[in-house]
Amino acid sequence: MDAETIHAKIDAQVTDALKVAGPFKWQIQKDGFSIFVNMRHRRKSDHTFLLKVSFDDYPQRAPSYVFVDGDRRTPGGWPPSVKHGSNPPGICTPGTRECIEHYHRGDAKYQWDPNKYTLRFVLMEIQRMLEKGIGG
């Protein structure tokens, strides 16, 4: 698949997620084949967490979802109770590359499906994990 087509597919995912960005207080930026999402608890805190979603090899492979430090590269700055304990660092929820290819590799229940596990779908799951982890 050529780069232009991949960018169009990523843009469609971002456009769909932006429809609910306001209620969830997400700020979404695209940078090449990655997007960065500033996420926060909707009611409790102004503290934000930066999520990097890497769409390389999309849509053949699930995107990678990793919280990163301010340099936008190094995994870090994780919200409480969101990071999975195994390597590679990631989030164990349906639709993340780390879940599908590592934590639940070979599990027929969590096969990659780009039509089901949209960016919006996975961000909503991560939002719920973030808020449960912070509490309140």
């Binding site: 779908f121 799951e125 449960k132």
Partner: protein, 84 residues
């Protein structure tokens, strides 16, 4: 309370639904309609909540009682983290 229609958007992980809803409609009824609209399993309705501005809406109250404004975006979301 006088009955008005509110133009609302119900957004879920699976898409958006914009329509007019009576403001005297209880939130529970709105959730039931939304679950049907998005072709979700009605037996799992208890696993979902409706939120507005980050707050869970009391399903026994009406949209008017909760002060939901015209044009609001209501989120249909899972109550708990998905266990895998």
């Amino acid at each position: 309370m006088e009955n008005h229609k509110l133009n609302l958007t119900i957004s879920s992980a699976n898409g958006d639904w914009e329509d007019n809803f009576p403001n005297n409609q209880p939130v529970h009824a709105l959730k039931t309609r939304a679950i049907a609209h998005f072709h979700m399993d009605p037996s799992q309705a208890d696993q979902f909540i409706l939120t507005y501005d980050g707050l869970t809406l009391d399903e026994s109250r009406t949209l008017a009682e909760l002060g939901i404004p015209d044009g609001a975006i209501i989120i249909l979301e899972r109550k708990d983290v998905t266990k895998i």
